[in-house]
C-alpha cells in the first residue's frame, strides 16, 4: 500500500475520476429509472450502451473517419459530434425499447415472477453482446480522434482538458434536463405516479404501458450519450465494454439509492473518483474490487443508498 501515489496525484486523479464518474452516472440513469418504476434490474441495459458505442462509430465511418484519421477542424468537429450523438441516441433508444417489447412486456402481461424478468434480460444481454462480438471478431475497435484532448487550464499540477470539461458539463446538463422532465412535466408526473403505485396510477388514467416504454426510452437516450462520451474518452470499444462498465453503473445506482435520479449522479461521480483514488493507492487492477468493498460497507450502514430510493416520492 503506497499512499504517496495518491497524495502526489490527488488533483489529476480527482479530475479524471469525475469525468469517468460522469459517464457512469449517465449510464446508471437507465438502471435507476427502470428500477424506480418496475422494481426490476434491467440487465440488458449494458448492451443498450454497447450498441450506442458502435452506433456513433458507424455514423463517423459514413464520413470516412476511422481511428487513423487526422483530427478535424472546429466546424466539422461540431457536425461530427452532433451526428455521432444523434446516431447513438437513436440506436440506444431503439434498442432499449426493443428489449422492453421483446423481453419484458410479454412477461408483464402474464404477471410472471420477478426472477423471470431477470433471466430474459440476461438472455437479451447475451444475445446482443455475442452478435456484436462475432461481427467484430471480438477485436476492439478504435475511435476516430474527433476531439483531441487539449489542456485548457492548470491548477497547481492538475491539468484539465477540454474533453473532461465537455463530458462533465454534458452529463450535468442532461441530468438537469431529465430531472426537470421527471419532476416538472406532465409525462414525468405520470412516471412518478406509476413508480409510486402502478395500479392506482392506472385507475387515475395514466397509460401504464406507455409510461414504462417512456422510461426505457429515456434510459436508452442517456446511455446513448454516455456511449459517445465513453468512445471519446477511452478511444476504443469492444463487445464486452457494456458489461464491464454496466457493473460500475449499477453499483453507482445502488450507491446513490436506486430509483433516485440525483442519487445516480452522486453515486456515479463518487464511484468514479473513489475508484481512481483506490487505483492510486492499491494499483489499477484493484479498481473494481475497491468499488465493491465500498458498496458493501455503504449498504451495511445505509441500505437504501446515500440519497434513498425515491423516484416515486413527490420530490425525487
Amino acid at each position: 500500500m503506497d499512499f504517496s501515489g495518491l497524495i502526489d496525484n490527488f488533483g489529476p486523479l480527482t479530475v479524471t475520476g469525475l469525468a469517468q464518474g460522469a459517464i457512469i452516472a449517465l449510464f446508471a440513469l437507465g438502471y435507476t429509472l427502470v428500477y424506480g418504476v418496475l422494481r426490476l434490474i434491467n440487465f440488458a441495459h449494458s448492451e443498450v450502451f454497447l450498441l450506442g458505442t458502435y452506433a456513433c462509430l458507424f455514423a463517423w465511418g459514413l464520413f470516412g473517419l476511422d481511428q487513423n484519421s487526422a483530427a478535424p477542424a472546429v466546424g466539422p468537429m461540431l457536425l461530427y459530434m452532433l451526428v455521432g450523438l444523434i446516431a447513438a441516441i437513436i440506436v440506444s433508444g431503439a434498442a432499449a425499447l426493443t428489449v422492453e417489447f421483446v423481453a419484458y412486456r410479454p412477461l408483464r402481461r402474464r404477471n410472471a415472477p420477478p426472477l423471470a424478468f431477470l433471466i430474459t434480460a440476461i438472455g437479451a444481454s447475451l444475445f446482443i453482446s455475442e452478435v456484436v462480438g462475432v461481427a467484430t471478431h471480438r477485436n476492439q475497435t478504435g475511435v476516430p480522434p474527433i476531439i483531441q484532448a487539449r489542456p485548457v487550464f492548470t491548477i497547481g499540477d492538475t491539468t484539465v482538458t477540454n474533453l473532461q470539461i465537455l463530458i462533465i458539463l454534458l452529463a450535468l446538463v442532461m441530468m438537469f434536463a431529465l430531472d426537470r422532465f421527471i419532476n416538472g412535466s406532465r409525462l414525468g408526473r405520470g412516471v412518478r405516479a406509476v413508480a409510486q403505485n402502478p395500479d392506482s396510477a392506472a385507475l387515475m388514467g395514466v397509460n401504464k404501458s406507455r409510461v414504462i416504454a417512456l422510461v426505457f426510452l429515456l434510459g436508452g437516450l442517456m446511455a446513448g450519450i454516455a456511449a459517445v462520451m465513453y468512445d471519446l474518452k477511452i478511444g476504443v470499444t469492444r463487445y464486452d465494454a457494456g458489461f464491464l462498465l454496466g457493473i460500475d453503473a449499477f453499483t453507482a445506482a445502488v450507491l446513490g439509492g436506486i430509483g433516485n435520479l440525483r442519487g445516480a449522479l452522486l453515486g456515479g461521480l463518487l464511484l468514479g473518483v473513489l475508484q481512481n483514488y483506490a487505483a492510486g493507492v492499491f494499483g489499477s487492477q484493484w479498481l473494481h474490487a475497491a468499488s465493491f468493498v465500498l458498496l458493501v460497507v455503504i449498504l451495511l450502514f445505509r441500505p437504501t443508498g446515500l440519497l434513498g430510493e425515491s423516484l416515486g416520492r413527490a420530490r425525487a
Binding site: A116, G123, S125, I128, V131, D199, I247
Partner: protein, 368 residues
C-alpha cells in the same frame, strides 16, 4: 403436506409417479440412475443416438461438462430456488473450490513444499474453505434486501476473479498446472487418465446423486421448511419464530459447498486452472439454467444445467447457409433463453407449488 397431496391427485408423469407404491417408484428411480451411468454410450443407440451425439461433439468431455454444470445448478437451486436468495456471483464458490485444490496440490503453488497433497486429501480442505467463504460472504450481506444481495454477490465473484488475476500467490493468467487427477487404478492403468473423460463423468454423476439425496433430505427437514417460509414471506417467517438469518446462512453455506464440489471436480479433471476460467458470465449462465429449468425443483435445475452446457455444444459443427452456427452459439443461446422464459415463465419443469402460484398471479393481471 399439501404439496405431496397435490402430486398424487394431479395428472401427468409426476402425478402417475406419485400414485405408485414405493417399490415401483424405487425401480423407476434405479432405472433412471442406471440409464444416466450408461449415457456415454448413447451415441451407439440407433436413430436417437446420432441426433444427440453429433460429429462435432467430444461426447465424454461434453458429458463431464454437463456434470459440473448440473452440480452448480443444483447448488444454486438451493440458494435461489429454495431460500429465494438471488445470488449472481455463484461462480465465486466454484473458483474457491478449484483454487483451494490447486493451492494444496499443484507443484506451482507456494504451499507445495509443505503440502504437495494428493487430490483426495485436498478435497475436504477445499470444501471447508468454500463453506467458510460462503459464511464470510453471507454474514454481512444476508441482512440486505434481495436486489442488493444480487449486486453484492456479483461483486464477490468479481473480487475473487480480480484477486486471482492480480496476486502473485494465485498466479493470474499463468495459472496452476499439474493438479493431480483423482486416485485409483484398474489393472495397472490409472482410472482417471488424461485422454478418457468417461470416468470423470461417472465420478461427477456419483457426486450429483449424493448431492440430490442430501438436498432432498434437507428440503424435507426443518431446514427445508424454514427455507420455504423465508422464500414466501421473510417477515412473516421471522414473526412465526423461524430464525431467518441462521437458515439463510445455511442455504448460502450449503450452496457454496456444492459449488465448491463442482470446482474441486473441475480442477481434478482439467488439471490446469487460471484466472480466465472463472468469468462472471459463467455464474449468470448457471442462474439462467436454474430459472429456465424451474427454480425450486431439482429435476428442473438438472434439466437447466444440462441445457446450458449442451445447447452450445450441440451447435458445434453445424452451419446454416454460410454461417457457422457454433460461432453464434451464445447468441442463439441468449435468444433461446428469452423464448423459453416468455413461453414458460415458471420454467420448463416448475415445482408444483410455483406453478400453482403462477396460475394465481396470471388471474390477478389487470387487462392492459
Amino acid at each position: 403436506m399439501s404439496e405431496k397431496a397435490s402430486f398424487r391427485s394431479s395428472g401427468g408423469v409426476r402425478g402417475w409417479f406419485g400414485r405408485q407404491p414405493w417399490y415401483i417408484r424405487g425401480v423407476v428411480v434405479l432405472l433412471a440412475a442406471v440409464a444416466a451411468y450408461l449415457l456415454p454410450y448413447v451415441g451407439d443407440v440407433p436413430l436417437i443416438g446420432p441426433q444427440i451425439v453429433t460429429e462435432g461433439i467430444d461426447w465424454p468431455s461434453a458429458l463431464f461438462n454437463m456434470s459440473y454444470y448440473v452440480l452448480l445448478a443444483l447448488g444454486l437451486n438451493v440458494v435461489v430456488g429454495y431460500a429465494g436468495l438471488l445470488d449472481l456471483g455463484y461462480v465465486g464458490f466454484f473458483a474457491v473450490g478449484a483454487y483451494g485444490t490447486a493451492l494444496l496440490t499443484s507443484p506451482d503453488s507456494i504451499l507445495y513444499e509443505d503440502t504437495g497433497w494428493k487430490w483426495l486429501m485436498a478435497v475436504p480442505a477445499a470444501l471447508v474453505l468454500t463453506m467458510i467463504a460462503g459464511v464470510i460472504l453471507g454474514w454481512p450481506t444476508l441482512r440486505l434486501r434481495g436486489d442488493y444481495l444480487a449486486i453484492v454477490t456479483l461483486g464477490f465473484a468479481e473480487i475473487i476473479r480480480i484477486v486471482a488475476t492480480s496476486t502473485t500467490t494465485l498466479r493470474g493468467d499463468r495459472g496452476f498446472a499439474s493438479i493431480p487427477h483423482p486416485p485409483g487404478s484398474w489393472g495397472g492403468e490409472p482410472i482417471f487418465g488424461v485422454t478418457d473423460a468417461i470416468p470423470y463423468f461417472w465420478l461427477g454423476l456419483t457426486v450429483i446423486i449424493l448431492v440430490i439425496l442430501g438436498v432432498r433430505n434437507l428440503d424435507r427437514s426443518r431446514v427445508g421448511r424454514s427455507w420455504l417460509a423465508i422464500r414466501e414471506d421473510e417477515e412473516a417467517a421471522e414473526v412465526m419464530g423461524v430464525r431467518t438469518f441462521k437458515y439463510k446462512l445455511w442455504a448460502f453455506a450449503i450452496g457454496a459447498f456444492i459449488g465448491g464440489l463442482g470446482g474441486v471436480l473441475f480442477a481434478g479433471e482439467q488439471s490446469f486452472i487460471n484466472s480466465q476460467t472463472f468469468v462472471l458470465q459463467f455464474s449468470i449462465l448457471v442462474l439462467a439454467g436454474v430459472v429456465m429449468g424451474g427454480s425450486g425443483n431439482m429435476a428442473g435445475a438438472i434439466l437447466g444445467g444440462v441445457l446450458i452446457s449442451y445447447i452450445p455444444d450441440r451447435l458445434r459443427g453445424l452451419s446454416f447457409g454460410d454461417t457457422d452456427l457454433y460461432e453464434y452459439r451464445f447468441a442463439i443461446f441468449g435468444a433461446a433463453i428469452i423464448l423459453i422464459m416468455v413461453l414458460r415463465p415458471q420454467g420448463l419443469i416448475p415445482s408444483r407449488r410455483r406453478a400453482m402460484e403462477l396460475k394465481d398471479r396470471e388471474k390477478e393481471v389487470a387487462p392492459q
